[in-house]
Symmetry: C2
Subunit: 329 residues, 2 copies
C-alpha cells in the first residue's frame, strides 16, 4: 500500500437509467460520469453488459485525464430487496430480476473487487459522505421519484436492519384507511407523495372540475401530467398546482414527523424531483413537521434538500464499497 | 476488582408507581423488589425521598438475604424527555418536573454512582437483556399503558437519537386526519391504542347504542370502563369488547408494520396491560402486520409479548447503568 490515491467506480443502477462514475477514495471529485438508459426489456445479461461498458468508458476517460490511476474496485447500488453479504439481488419488480448474483457478475466482468448495496441506502449514504448531511451521526434520507426510497445512516454506516430491508420509508402508513399503494398496503406515504401520486392527485382535481391551467401544459392530454408539470404550473402561479404542492408538503410532513419522533435524526435529506418545488414545498413541509413532532426532536433536526442531484447514488455506492471492503469511509 | 459479584440497584420511576430492585451484575435474579405509589402531588423532593427509601429497603433486604454484598451503583429509568449525559430530567408532564438533576440527587442521597435513562428505553432494554428479546441485534419495544412508550435497542445499546428523544413510537401517525392526541398531533398510534384510548373507544360504542354487557362490569357507570375491563369482557365473549380488541390489533398492526418497514427489526416486543388480551390481540395483530409490511421484513421479525411483566424497567435501568458506567452489558 503506497501513498498513491486509489480510485473507486460507483454504479447507480435504476429502473430507468444507469449512472456510473470514477472517483478518488476520498470522494473529492467525480470523474467521467456516464449515464445511459437501462435496457430492462432486453433482460439481465444486457443490463450487466451495459453496466460493464459504462464502467469501462468511465475508467478509460478517467485514465485519459489523470494518467495510470489504480482502480481499487466497483461499488454497485441496485434496487432491492437484496442480500448485501452475498451480493445478490433477491427480487426487483422494476427490473424483473430474481436471485441475480449482480456483485459477482460485475466483479467477474471487470476483474475487480465489487460490492452491492441498496440504491436508496446508497443515495442517503452519498449525501452523508459528500452531500447535504456531511458528518451527521444519524441521517434519514427520502428519495422521491417513481417511488419513495429511503435510507438511514448511523455512526457512519448504512443501517441495514435484520434482513437488509430497513428504511422502506415510502411504505410507512400515514393514513391506514387511505389510498391503496402498489405494495398492497393502504395509506403508504408513497401512495400520496411519489411523483406519480402527485401527478394523479393533480389529474383527479382537474377531472373533478377545479379550474386550472394544467391542461394547457399538456395540450389537453391529462395523462401527460407529471409531477414536474405540476411544479412548473405552481411556479407560474396556478392555484390548483399550488394546492397539490401544499398537500404534498402535508403528506411528507406527516411522514417525516413520524420519522423524527421514532428516530430523532440530526438531518432529514429530501431528494429527487420534488425538490424542484423549492421553498414552495419546504416551507409548508417544515411547518407541518413542527406542528406534528416533538419539540426537542424537531429542534435537533435539519430538513434539507439533497445536494448531489443525480449522483448521490454513485457517491453512496463508492462509500458502501469502502465500508464493506475496508471498514472505513 | 476481585472476583466477587457486584450488585446494582434498578429504579423504575413512573407517574403512578416506583419500582426498585437489587440484582447481581449479570441480571440472573431480582432481589427484594419494592413497589410504592409515586407521591406526585407532594412534589419532586418527596419523590426523591421515596426513591431513596425504596433503594435503602431493597438493598437492606438483599443484604439480609445475601450477606455483605457490594452495591456498585444505581440505574434510574424516568419519564422524559431527559438529558442522559447530564443526568437531568428536562421535562415530564406526568410528574410536572422541569430541569430536575435526578441522577445527582440519587447519587448524593445514596453515596453511590448513578445513571439516568428514559423509562420506555429501559423497559425495552430490560426485555433485550433478560426478557423476550434476549440476544437480538435489533429490537423495537412498545409499552402500552396510559400512553404508548417506545424503545429501540441496536447492537446491545439503547438507540438514543440525536437529542435523547428517539423511539417516541406512540406518536407515530397512523391516520393523519384522525383522532387528536394529547401531544397535539392528529392520528398518533397512542390516540388509538393506549389504555385510555381503548377504554374510550369501548365507551363511545356503548354510548352510541351497540349492545354489550360492558355496563354491567361497571355497575352502569361508563366512566369506570378501563382497558382491563374491556379485556375481561372480551374474555367472557362480549361482542362489542371483542370488536374493540380486534380494532386495537388493527391499529397496533398498522403502527408495527410501519416500524418493521422502517427498521427491519429482529424482534418487536409488545408489553403492558394490553398483553392481557393474549392471542385475542396477537393473532389479528400479526395478521394485520403481514397484510401491511414487506415480506422479507415480516419474515425476519418475531412479534412477542414482554416477558418481564412489571420489572422490565428495573432490569433495563440496571443494564443502562452497566452500559453507561462500564461500557458493557
Amino acid at each position: 500500500m503506497g501513498g498513491a490515491v486509489r480510485y473507486i467506480v460507483g454504479v447507480d443502477l435504476g429502473g430507468t437509467s444507469i449512472v456510473v462514475g470514477t472517483m478518488p477514495e476520498d470522494g473529492s471529485a467525480l470523474h467521467a460520469p456516464q449515464m445511459r438508459p437501462t435496457p430492462v426489456s432486453e433482460g439481465p445479461d444486457a443490463v450487466v453488459k451495459r453496466i460493464l461498458q459504462l464502467i469501462d468508458r468511465s475508467t478509460t476517460a478517467a485514465r485519459d485525464k489523470l494518467g495510470d490511476i489504480e482502480i481499487a474496485g466497483v461499488g454497485v447500488g441496485s434496487p432491492g430487496p437484496l442480500d448485501t453479504k452475498a451480493g445478490v439481488v433477491i427480487f426487483t419488480p422494476n427490473l424483473g430480476w430474481r436471485n441475480m448474483p449482480l456483485r459477482d457478475r460485475i466483479s467477474d466482468g471487470t476483474g475487480l473487487p465489487a460490492t452491492l448495496d441498496n440504491d436508496a441506502n446508497c443515495a442517503t449514504y452519498g449525501e452523508w459522505w459528500r452531500g447535504a448531511a456531511r458528518g451527521a451521526d444519524l441521517v434519514v434520507g427520502l428519495t422521491i421519484g417513481t417511488g419513495i426510497g429511503g435510507g438511514i445512516v448511523h455512526h457512519g454506516r448504512i443501517f441495514h436492519g435484520a434482513s437488509d430491508v430497513a428504511a422502506e420509508i415510502g411504505h410507512m402508513t400515514i393514513d391506514m384507511t387511505g389510498r391503496l399503494c402498489k405494495c398492497g398496503n393502504y395509506g403508504c406515504l408513497e401512495a400520496y407523495a411519489s411523483g406519480p401520486a402527485i401527478a394523479a392527485r393533480a389529474r383527479e382535481n382537474v377531472q373533478s372540475g377545479t379550474p386550472s391551467a394544467l391542461p394547457e401544459y399538456v395540450r389537453g392530454d391529462l395523462t401527460q401530467i407529471t409531477a414536474q408539470v405540476v411544479y412548473e404550473a405552481a411556479a407560474d402561479g396556478d392555484e390548483l398546482a399550488l394546492e397539490v404542492v401544499k398537500d404534498t408538503a402535508k403528506f411528507l410532513g406527516a411522514g417525516i414527523a413520524s420519522l423524527i419522533n421514532i428516530l430523532n435524526p440530526e438531518v432529514v435529506v429530501v431528494a429527487g424531483g420534488v425538490t424542484l418545488a423549492g421553498d414552495r414545498l419546504f416551507t409548508p413541509l417544515k411547518a407541518e413537521v413542527k406542528r406534528r413532532a416533538f419539540r426537542p426532536a424537531v429542534d435537533a433536526c435539519r430538513i434539507v434538500p439533497g445536494a448531489l442531484t443525480g449522483t448521490a447514488g454513485v457517491y453512496g455506492a463508492v462509500a458502501a464499497f469502502k465500508a464493506q471492503m475496508w471498514d472505513t469511509v
